[in-house]
Structure formats: structure tokens, C-alpha cells
């Protein structure tokens, strides 16, 4: 695989516009699917959100069954097993629209993602035959059970045990799983338990003797989704229910989380657009000082920032969809593909974490400003933005907290560098050598100039990481203060690059002039904001890792790498706001 397209490779190589997938390239089927999903969810589920929030008996199951009938639960399940064998883009477009049904999206994601996918990717052909048709139709609902009261982020610290019985036919499971989404009504539980101290994944069925449940948790948000403890007391699970390999449950757990994080990001960018629409509508109606709120510059600036952040995250998610689709499309999901699937899903672990962190934080920003735009009414439950604000918060917590996901980024990069999979250290050394030649003014303008900035941002990131690795040595992997800064830099690079490459690609496409204008302005505004953040973290990391003369030299290098043309940020914000307010929605939806 070409370095630019390898997991984490974007940091080390130049990526071209042709190498990134953009939402503008979705085909007619994807667009039909997106429209259908939005229609279905808005019309069938939308009117019942309140009842759903109260967990009205049977409602979530009913919506699942309806979604199943339309095929929405089987997108990633092979055709031979009742699914539709769709690509990853289909998953994203559906994921973006389902949040129009509020917390139904969480039940939906837990079922179609981390619940069903362990069997799709790591199941035996027999398990697939047995479970996938029911999971595709919605007749059966799935849940993913990794977290325990004593182990959340520290997933490998699970205490649930599985002991083989004397006959060698069943494993006896004991333990408690905490905060399990869909637990109230799921039929199939993908439970992680330790066999001789080693994590193993089992399919546990609801009606197996010894399975019981805690009460519904009372939650801050996503109240319409079921969250309960799953209690296992001497549950006898047939040996053939092991998913993946005995003692290698972590391979299933973590790789499924990679896909889960990517899917969470898709749902988050969809939700952020909904929050934007909601706030725009409110601001177009509410008057103060005799005019509507959307005429105030202070409010318009907020719309510009939300739309810009939406654009950045959307560019990242679709780019990642392209990468994921490429590595997954040749897997033979009807057979035993455990080994290949593990490799495929691991490839973009870094990108999946970046997706999750970025999209969940963009969503939190969007709903927070959404409430602000609503003024006091944003605090009142009658207004949907109030629920969106509460519902958003979970996304930074589950599927690995954003701290854990951030730490995974430098962690995985360093590991791959050590294994020789990514020439990270060499690249860092090259930067120091190249410093003499960089920073020369270039003739590029517009998006080309922006891409130059991304190139320098990568170098800056490598330089700072290189200094940290060199000066902190083995101590670095335990220095989270520094690692968090490194994660932030990588995050900004990925977002900036995705945004610019997309904007460049779109300029040659058959889209409206406003569309071209929006992507260009949003990319510029977004990248400059990202560059400011990146610069700050680079400086912090460098100052923490170097001192004295060497620090001055590095800081001088840094100044070269951060030199960038001045842009009129306020003017950009105004232009973006004009497009957003005029359209009354995310302007390129």
C-alpha cells in the first residue's frame, strides 16, 4: 500500500485530491438512500420522539423492525445472509440521517454497529447463518458488552470469567457488564469474558438461564435508549458461540470499536447539521430589537463557525469512509474471514479515533452554540435544542472516551514506528534537515496556498513529535501531558488536509457556484483556525521537550513552519454566514 494511504501515513506523505473521497462523489443510490432514511425517520419516528424518550414499551423495537423491513439494519451484512452487502458510504449516509429520530439513533448504532459487526467480521460461517438474517430483519436485536463496573477505559481489566465445563461443551460465564446499550430489549449479547485471564468474545442469548438485568439507568440524555447492567450468573454458553479466537477477544473488541468510532462520527456530523438547522430556523423567527436574530453579526458568526466545523468533520468522515471501504470491500464476509478482517479494521485505527474525537467535539460545539442562539428558550425542554444538547454529551464518553481515543493516536503511531511499519523517526529527522529550505515564500494562492500550509503543518507536527521522542525517550509513552498535545496536532493535520483536498477536488466538479464558494471559504476559515490550535500545541510540546540552545533553534524552525499569509478571518466568517443564513441549513446539504 502506498504510504499516503496507509493508516497514519497521511502524516508522512503528500496526499493528493484524487486520493480522498468526498461526499460530492456519492452516487445516485447513496443519495436516494440518504433521502429515504431522512424521510422515514422524520415522518415515522419524529412524531414519537417524546414517547420514545419515555421508553414507551415496545416502541424502540417497533421502529427497529420498520428499519429492518426497509433494509436499513442489513447494510453491512452480506446479501447471502439477509443483508445488502452495501459499501461504507451507505453506512455513512444512513448514519447521518438516523439522528433525526433522537435517541433511536443510539439503539440503531449499537445494534447495527458494535452489536452486529462482531459476527459479520469475526463470526464463523455457522454463526453468521444462525444470527445474521434475524439481525438484518430486526427480528433480533444485538448489544455489545465490554464495560464493567470496575473496568471502563481499562477494558482489558474485565473481571467477567468464562470457565470450560468438564464435558468441554460449554463455557460457564460469571460477571457483570455495565451500561449496556439495548440491554432492555436485545436478544443477542456479544459478551467479553476472560478464559484463563485472556479476553474472549461470546454470543450470549437473552433467554439463556442465568442472564438477568439491572434496572434502567437514569441518564442525562439519550433517554430513549435502553442502558442497563447485564448480569451473568453461571450462564452456560456453548463452545461454538466463541466469536473470533479463544483468548483473542481483544482483537474483536478493539477492531469493532474502530468501526464503531467511525460510525459514531457519521452520526455526529449528521446530528451537528440538525442542530445547525434547528438554530437557524429559530433565529429566522425570533425577533429582538425589532429584527430577527439571524441579522446580528454575533449570531451570524456563530452560524459560520458551526457550518465550518461541520464541513471539516464531514470532510474527515467521508475521506475515512473511502479508506475503510477500500480495505473492507474485498473481504469475503460470507466465510471465515477473521484474520483478514482483523488486519483490515486495524489499518485505520488512528483515523477512526480521530473521526470519533473530532466529530463528537464538533457536535458538542454545535449544540452548545445552538442553545446559546436560542437564548433562555434553549434551556427550556419544549425546544428540541435542549434535548440535543443533553444527547450530544455521551458521544465524548462512549466507544472509548475522547481522552482514550486521543492517547491512542500517538500511541499507535509510536508503536507502528517501532515495528517499522511507519518511517516516522526518519521523517522527523528529514524535517530538521529540510528546515533550511522551507519557509521560502511561495507563489501559490487560494487553495494551493492552503495546501502548502498543510504541508508545513505536517512538518511541524513531525518536528515536535521528533523532539519529544528524542528528548523524552522511553518516558514519552507515559507522559500524557505531552501525548495529548501530540494527539491534538495530528487531529488538526488530518482535519485540515481533508478539508483542503476536498475543496480542491470540488472545484472541478459539477456542483453549484455556491457550493464551490462554500467549500473554499469553509476550508480556509477552518484551516486557519486549526493552524492556530496546532501552533499552540506544537509550541507547548516543544517547550516541554527541549531547553536552552536547542530550544531556541527548534523554535526558530517552528517560526518558519508557521509562517502563513494573513487572511481576513472576519471577512471569511461573514461570507460563510451569508451562505448559511440564506440557505437556512448546512448550505451544501
Amino acid at each position: 500500500m502506498e504510504l499516503a494511504l496507509k493508516g497514519g501515513g497521511f502524516l508522512l506523505a503528500d496526499v493528493t485530491p484524487e486520493q480522498v473521497f468526498t461526499p460530492e462523489e456519492l452516487n445516485e443510490d447513496h443519495l436516494q438512500l440518504k433521502r429515504m432514511t431522512a424521510n422515514f425517520v422524520e415522518k415515522e419516528i419524529g412524531p414519537h420522539i417524546e414517547a420514545l424518550e419515555e421508553q414507551q414499551e415496545g416502541l424502540a423495537r417497533k421502529f427497529m423492525a420498520q428499519a429492518g423491513e426497509l433494509g436499513l439494519l442489513g447494510l453491512e451484512i452480506p446479501e447471502e445472509m439477509g443483508g445488502l452487502s452495501m459499501d461504507k458510504y451507505a453506512t455513512v449516509v444512513v448514519g447521518e440521517e438516523v439522528p433525526r429520530g433522537a435517541s433511536f439513533a443510539v439503539s440503531f448504532a449499537a445494534h447495527t454497529g458494535i452489536g452486529t459487526l462482531p459476527i459479520v467480521y469475526f463470526g464463523t460461517p455457522e454463526q453468521k447463518e444462525k444470527y445474521l438474517p434475524g439481525l438484518a430483519s430486526g427480528e433480533k436485536i444485538a448489544a455489545y458488552c465490554l464495560t464493567e463496573p470496575g473496568s471502563g477505559s481499562d477494558a482489558l481489566g474485565a473481571k467477567t470469567t468464562a470457565v470450560l465445563n468438564e464435558e468441554g461443551t460449554h463455557y460457564i460465564l460469571n460477571g457483570t457488564k455495565q451500561f449496556i446499550t439495548n440491554a432492555g430489549f436485545a436478544d443477542v449479547f456479544l459478551v467479553y469474558a476472560k478464559v484463563d485471564g485472556k479476553l474472549t468474545n461470546f454470543i450470549v442469548e437473552r433467554d439463556m438461564p442465568g442472564v438477568s438485568f439491572g434496572p434502567e439507568e437514569k441518564k442525562m440524555g439519550i433517554k430513549g435508549s435502553s442502558t442497563r447492567e447485564v448480569i451473568l450468573e453461571d450462564v452456560a454458553v456453548p463452545v461454538e458461540n466463541i466469536v473470533g479466537e479463544l483468548g483473542r477477544g481483544h482483537v474483536v473488541a478493539f477492531n469493532i470499536l474502530n468501526v464503531g468510532r467511525f460510525k459514531l462520527a457519521a452520526a455526529a456530523i449528521g446530528s451537528a447539521q440538525i442542530a445547525l438547522e434547528t438554530a437557524l430556523k429559530y433565529a429566522s423567527e425570533r425577533k429582538q430589537f425589532g429584527v430577527t436574530l439571524d441579522t446580528f453579526g454575533a449570531i451570524r458568526a456563530k452560524f459560520a463557525e458551526i457550518a465550518t466545523q461541520c464541513y471539516m468533520a464531514e470532510s474527515v468522515v467521508y475521506r475515512t469512509a473511502g479508506l475503510m471501504d477500500e480495505v473492507c470491500k474485498d473481504l469475503d464476509l460470507t466465510g471465515d474471514c477473521r484474520k483478514e478482517a482483523g488486519k483490515a479494521l486495524e489499518e485505520y485505527a488512528i483515523e477512526c479515533s480521530l473521526n470519533k474525537v473530532l466529530a463528537s467535539e464538533v457536535l458538542d460545539f454545535a449544540v452548545d452554540e445552538g442553545v446559546q442562539i436560542h437564548g433562555g428558550y434553549g434551556f427550556i425542554s419544549e425546544y428540541p435544542i435542549e434535548r440535543m444538547y443533553r444527547d450530544s454529551r455521551i458521544n465524548r464518553l462512549f466507544e472509548g472516551t475522547n481522552e482514550i481515543n486521543r492517547l491512542l493516536v500517538p500511541g499507535t503511531l509510536l508503536k507502528r514506528a517501532m515495528n517499522g511499519e511507519l518511517p516516522l523517526l526518519q521523517a522527523a529527522q528529514n524535517v530538521s534537515k529540510d528546515l533550511m529550505s522551507v519557509g521560502l515564500p511561495s507563489d501559490n494562492e487560494g487553495l494551493e496556498a492552503l495546501l502548502d500550509m498543510v504541508g508545513k503543518a505536517k512538518k511541524l507536527c513531525l518536528m515536535a513529535a521528533g523532539i519529544a521522542a528524542q528528548n523524552l525517550g522511553m518516558e514519552l509513552k507515559d507522559n500524557q501531558y505531552v501525548l495529548m498535545g501530540m494527539a491534538e496536532m495530528v487531529l488538526q493535520v488530518y482535519a485540515m488536509e481533508s478539508a483542503v483536498l476536498r475543496a480542491m477536488k470540488v472545484q472541478d466538479m459539477d456542483v453549484t457556484d455556491d457550493h464551490k464558494l462554500f467549500v473554499e471559504k469553509a476550508a480556509t476559515l477552518g484551516c486557519y483556525t486549526a493552524m492556530n490550535i496546532l501552533e499552540q500545541h506544537a509550541k507547548e510540546v516543544i517547550c516541554a521537550a527541549a531547553e536552552g540552545d536547542s530550544l531556541s533553534t527548534v523554535l526558530a524552525g517552528m517560526r518558519k513552519l508557521t509562517r502563513r499569509p494573513n487572511v481576513d478571518m472576519i471577512g471569511l466568517r461573514k461570507d460563510v454566514a451569508d451562505l448559511v443564513v440564506e440557505k437556512g441549513k448546512y448550505p451544501i446539504r
Binding site: 443510490d29 436516494q32 438512500l33 429515504m36 424521510n39 422515514f40 426497509l70 455556491d514 440557505k583
Partner: protein, 257 residues
């Protein structure tokens, strides 16, 4: 029973309408949908086909983008699509539309023609009936229920203060009213199948028509957006005083009584 459903692509009901620099309605970047009444017609056609066999052909007149609308109908379960699209058809009136659709429909063997009662954009409710006239088939409008066998249909339609049940020999044209059915959502499998179904895009020349013979009988001179809604006014004072004032305002200012 072979069925032809005529559909039109319209603006999304939530679309913001704006005029371009030439004072015409600007469709750039606007989300387009199938006219909601035409969706009832599509659904009814598919149901009748499922019940009685035969084929559903969807016919539309519009720009290139109208293919999307036809694809949606195909994804719902229609079998074939025909789009008449021609640069000279940018501005058509109901007469032209009916003339062109008649030509497109003539080539299809049909027992029943279905369409929406009205299109939500121009709201003329004329094209389907004109088309029936041109083809020389009877038509019933605003239908709430259809029962069919191979020879005739029984249709229930809205009339002032009640309903009316009619028996009509086939072939016939029926236009759909809200309440006829609940249109289905296209399933994912339906969407995937739709792209393998035939969708012919034809020009006027393909239909043997000549743009010169089709100059609209009605021309739109200008288009204006409705005046922005003004805020309400509160009348204060003694009840009989205020009532008087109100009546006067309703007559002199609002001119409604």
C-alpha cells in the same frame, strides 16, 4: 393491468424560494421531491399491479434532474420510466405539457392512467385532465379509493360535503387525492434494483414533435414573492368601541368584508 403514472418533480415543501437576477424562480441548489400527490398515484399504481399483475410505467416531463424522481418511483416498485426532457421545454404551460405527455403515453399500452390531483408548485390541477381529454379517455379527479378489475374501475371521490362512487370503463385517467393511500418508502433493496430498470430520456424530436408547434398559450409575465407578513396589531379600549374599530378596519384596510 398496465398502468401509466404521470409525475412531476417539485421543490421540497420546505425549500426557501428565491428569485434570480432575471426575476425567475431560482432552482439552484434547491432540494427537489416528487410532487406529494403524485406519490399517492405511484403507490396506487404499484398496489394495483401487485394485485392484478401488469406493469407500471412512470412518465415525467422535466429537466435532467427529474430522473431522480423517476428513480425514486422505480425504487418504490414501478417497472419503467420515461422522462421527456428537452431544452425547448424550459417554459411550458399546461397545454404544452399535456400535448407532450400525450405523445409520450401514446406509445405505451395502458389500461389505467394515474396522476396527482394537483402539483404543489404551480397548483393548476390541469395537466392530468387535459391529458385525458387529448387521449380521449374519461377522467375522475380527487379520488380517495380505487377498486379495479380488468375492465373497469370503481372510484370514490370527494365532492362537496361527501363522497361519490363512480364506475368507469377502462382505459381511464384517475387523479389521486390525499388519503388514497400511505405511500411506501423505497427499500434499500428497491433502490439497488431501481438502477437496473429501464429509464428512457427522450427529446421532443424522439417523440416526433416539433418545438415550433408547441408555443405555450399562456406566458408568465413576472413572478413576485409574497409580501412579508406584517406583525399583528392590538386594538385596545372599551369592547364596543374596539369592535366598531375592528369592523371598520376589516372593511377599509384589510378589505375582507
Amino acid at each position: 393491468m398496465n398502468i401509466v403514472v404521470c409525475i412531476k418533480q417539485t421543490f421540497d415543501t420546505e425549500a426557501k424560494i428565491a428569485l434570480d437576477s432575471q426575476g425567475k424562480i431560482d432552482s439552484q441548489g434547491v432540494n427537489l421531491i416528487i410532487n406529494p400527490y403524485d406519490e399517492f398515484a405511484i403507490e396506487e399504481g404499484i398496489r394495483l399491479k401487485e394485485q392484478l399483475g401488469g406493469e407500471v410505467t412512470v412518465v415525467s416531463l422535466g429537466g435532467e434532474r427529474a430522473q431522480e424522481a423517476i428513480r425514486t418511483a422505480l425504487a418504490m416498485g414501478a417497472d419503467k420510466g420515461i422522462l421527456v426532457s428537452d431544452p425547448s421545454l424550459e417554459e411550458v404551460d399546461e397545454w404544452v405539457a399535456a400535448e407532450v405527455l400525450a405523445k409520450a403515453v401514446e406509445g405505451i399500452s395502458y389500461d389505467l392512467l394515474l396522476a396527482g390531483r394537483i402539483a404543489i408548485d404551480d397548483g393548476s390541477a390541469q395537466v392530468a385532465v387535459r391529458l385525458a381529454e387529448k387521449l380521449g379517455v374519461p377522467s375522475v379527479s380527487s379520488v380517495l379509493k380505487i377498486e379495479a378489475d380488468g375492465e373497469k374501475i370503481t372510484a370514490v371521490r370527494e365532492i362537496d360535503g361527501g363522497t361519490e362512487t363512480l364506475e368507469i370503463p377502462l382505459p381511464a385517467m384517475v387523479t389521486a387525492q390525499k388519503g388514497l393511500n400511505e405511500p411506501r418508502y423505497p427499500s434499500v433493496a428497491g433502490i439497488m434494483k431501481a438502477k437496473r430498470k429501464p429509464l428512457n430520456v427522450v427529446s421532443l424530436a424522439d417523440l416526433g414533435l416539433n418545438a415550433g408547434d408547441l408555443s405555450p398559450k399562456m406566458v408568465v409575465d413576472s413572478t413576485a414573492l409574497p409580501e412579508a407578513r406584517k406583525g399583528g396589531r392590538k386594538l385596545e379600549g372599551e369592547p364596543d368601541q374596539v369592535a366598531k374599530e375592528l369592523v371598520q378596519l376589516l372593511r377599509d384596510e384589510a378589505k375582507v368584508i
